[in-house]
Subunit: 335 residues, 2 copies
DNA sequence: CTGAAAGCGCTAACAG
DNA sequence: CTGTTAGCGCTTTCAG
């Protein structure tokens, strides 16, 4: 049986409101009783019950972070940014991994809301997870990270994917490549949308025809890149360069190319997106478009905190904050 | 203002216990009222308050998982195993990342307990995090993962590190290497302890002298491996082979060796520990000792669930479950 | 400085 | 089938 505030009150022979004051370092108790209470609390191995406190205070000191794939090194970097910024503000963050499973995303979202976390950061599986869009009000401060539904009414922070896609493609073009491919996770999703848009814009701008044979969509996992490029090469389809929707896809593509006995960038050049830590690994040395991962996480938290404050001040019309960060071109050895 | 069960009761004109029954699909309500209640709940955008429920039921349906570094691909694999097994049993899992910060570990641990999660899995920063060891009772079902304090009274699941270390070292020896180094994160920690012990046992068994110049301890991050090997080579210290405490250290070592213009395994052979996904990446192709990561996570959850059940049955003396899994030797190109 | 009392939102007997 | 009543553990007025 776990000790409660009442147990302490009883053994101390005082009221439990005094115990509460003593334990929370509020004024209104003599130093003497405070000491006494704290001593007893320790002896009883008392642990405050945050769920009871949460019930009355309507605050839990917790932020929820929902990510699609912690196995992709991109997301842990984001998580770190979130965590750091959150603990600066005195919040704990709970990370939920959906594994690209939309039903898990929904379930975690509901769960976090029911658990009354103070704010939620969601990096959605797909920009079509409308779960939230339909609600009239957001039941809790909320911000999208990265993959954002179009015309959302909620706050978001993302990297300018169109610009990133343009940058990547233009780089390829300026290096002299013409037969350029685009391999990515499923379309219809905002970032791809954006990255693909940027790709098309660049191709258009430089008057280069897009060959549909070179455009392929799979999922976001390494193996997908590997399979797609192998399948392409097997079918005799040779782009001169490919722009991959993210870095782990690019890694899969690199692997696929090499196993076919071809070399990078001589036979096929490659550029990725994200700049995950392994991209700079010498054996990989991947050219890519960098997203400011830590910054993204931190900004998301800042938005949440701000919403929390204005909310507490009785502010009603919380306008959504929209942050679009600039990507950077990182040139390494693969293009 | 968020709608509560009372609001529903009021607008439906019934008692709120009936509402509770209807919403939770308990028997004791007519199908008619159930429908009515559910309809109203939807209109009011009612979201159950899990903290209130948790307070009365003394259960939160949540497991806590504390990991030292989600940036090391080893841990996400564990997290996946935990998650899968947990959702099978109907639990949500909250992941906390300590970033090798002991004070964060303590803080998260306390937090999870205060939040009354139903069970905690802790992969400690160091086997010296005694935080829990001192308590008379564990306030919540608890299991160590991987890095376990010696002679703990709590449950744990880990890989047989001594055996793993022995396996790695024996492999090196049998391949003909004699000047063998060991580079790892800080000692005094159980797994290293174990891995180092295995290393020493193998060296001893084959009557090979250990050269202290080849034994180095840094931290567990990639850069540490890189720095150490570069420093060694720079100082003219050339082992023929090195056993790295984990795979990302090994990757750092690989990088360091190559940047010094040496080649692997011709100049220096390398073997790691963990078998992270990137180890099998062709450009890395790291020989290593595999830990059954997913299995570890799942086993940890199983232990928790079992404790929960015996606890609920009024069982008092929960004996700790101790699981030691076998590592596997994975031979690739680096030794 | 201290105690009594109310109540957060919900579940769970217990009557009817 | 339905309502009434406690009460989970804690904070927070409001008196004293």
């Amino acid at each position: 049986m776990k000790a409660t505030i009442k147990d302490i009150a009883r053994t101390a022979g005082i009221s439990y409101s005094s115990v509460s004051r003593a334990l929370n370092d509020l004024k209104g108790v003599s130093e003497q009783t405070r000491q006494k209470v704290k001593k007893i609390a320790e002896e009883l191995e008392y642990t405050p019950n945050a769920v009871a406190r949460g019930l009355v205070q309507k605050q839990t000191g917790t932020l929820g972070l929902i990510l699609p794939d912690i196995t992709n090194p991109f997301y842990p970097e984001i998580a770190r940014g979130v965590e750091e910024q959150a603990s600066l503000a005195g919040f704990n963050t709970f990370l939920c991994n959906t594994n690209y499973d939309l039903s898990k995303e929904e379930s975690y979202l509901r769960n976090l809301i029911e658990k009354r976390v103070d704010g939620i950061i969601l990096a959605p599986v797909s920009s079509h997870s409308n779960l939230f869009e339909q609600r009239k009000h957001m039941p809790v401060p909320f911000v999208y990270l990265g993959n954002t539904p179009e015309r959302t009414k909620y706050s978001f922070v993302l990297t300018d994917n169109v610009r990133g896609g343009y940058l990547a493609t233009r780089t390829l073009i300026e290096k002299g490549y013409r037969r350029i491919g685009f391999i990515s996770g499923k379309d219809e999703e905002s970032p791809v949308g954006g990255r693909f848009t940027g790709f098309k814009e660049a191709m258009d701008r430089y008057d280069i025809d897009i060959n549909d044979d070179y455009i392929r969509f799979g999922n976001w996992r390494l193996k997908s890149g590997y399979d797609i490029i192998q399948q392409m090469i097997g079918a005799g389809i040779y782009p001169e360069a490919v722009f991959a929707g993210n870095d782990i896809l690019a890694m899969g593509i690199l692997q696929g190319i090499k196993e076919k006995g071809l070399s990078v960038p001589e036979d096929i050049a490659v550029i990725g997106f994200d700049d995950i830590p392994y991209a700079s690994w010498p054996a990989i040395n991947l050219s890519t478009i960098r997203q400011p991962k830590s910054r993204m996480g931190k900004s998301a938290v800042e938005i949440l905190i701000e919403q929390l404050q204005t909310e507490n001040r009785g502010g009603t019309m919380l306008k959504a904050t929209k942050i679009i960060l600039d990507p950077d071109l990182i040139l390494r050895g693969t293009c």
